[in-house]
Amino acid sequence: MAKDIVAGIFCCVGTLFFIIGTTGLLRMPDLFTRLHPSTKCDTLGACSVIVGMAVHNGWSWDLLKLAFIVCFLLLSSATCGHAIGRSALRRNIPYWKKKEANEDGHGA
């Protein structure tokens, strides 16, 4: 029973981070700033849900599988975020700045 509660808490926290990440994705002004919530809040959310699943499942081989999934998830999502940001930088997509920018968010 206690195990279920802990697992549920982890899953809820993960979902919360997913929601925050999506909110950030919608609120941020440009591509670069949108990368921040989309690559990281989502990763943490997914990892948290997986930890919840691991707690729920208890000690078994699936635990190791989940650990591998977390590792690959971290590696691939970080690399994806970098790749998107890099190609945007290489294509000289302008990024949003606070000072020079217009008030309505169309960046320099």
Partner: protein, 172 residues
């Protein structure tokens, strides 16, 4: 010297793959282990012929042993900083001041730099957008996010057993 290193790398890759196989099959039965050994050896040979080498030479048994501790410390950093970004996102005024900063790292080789930049990307507030030689271009959400970089660098240096060169501050 290099051949000994290459051999050690291949053996290491073999054991990593075997570990992955054991986790996948979820059994320690003898016929599974034998099959796993054969498949790991086959995939190892295939990898060497495909990529030209087995593993990055900087992956050593000591590094592999430190990875779990590294992951835990990194996870703590990620959680801490994620809460920070969550606060920024949920703040109605959206207090961001993004900028791209240059950071010169002392970490040698591709792999430590890759791990460093991936750690940066995973730690909220910062995304590595370019890695050219030893210079990283990091997109920061707020200026103070930049301050976390040296700590992460120290963590990655610890993982790979690299010492910070003394008196080479700012040396190209």
């Amino acid at each position: 010297m290099t051949s000994v290193r290459a051999l050690r790398n291949r053996i290491l890759l073999f054991f990593l793959l075997l570990l992955f196989w054991i986790v996948l099959t979820a059994s320690l039965a003898l016929h599974e282990l034998v099959m796993g050994a054969v498949c790991s050896a086959f995939v190892g040979v295939l990898t060497v012929s495909l990529l030209g080498r087995a593993l990055d030479p900087r992956i050593t048994p000591a590094v592999l042993l430190r990875i779990p501790v590294f992951m835990l410390r990194l996870a703590w950093e990620i959680v801490k900083a994620n809460i920070d970004v969550a606060k920024i996102i949920l703040n109605p005024r959206l207090p961001i001041d993004p900028r791209i900063v240059e950071y010169r790292t002392y970490l040698p080789g591709d792999l430590p730099r890759t791990v460093f930049s991936d750690s940066i990307t995973l730690t909220p507030g910062t995304v590595t957008v370019e890695l050219r030689g030893e210079v990283l271009n990091v997109h920061c959400l707020c200026p103070y996010h930049e301050e976390g970089l040296p700590g992460l660098e120290r963590l990655v240096a610890w993982l790979f057993g690299v010492r910070k060169p003394v008196g080479e501050e700012g040396n190209g």
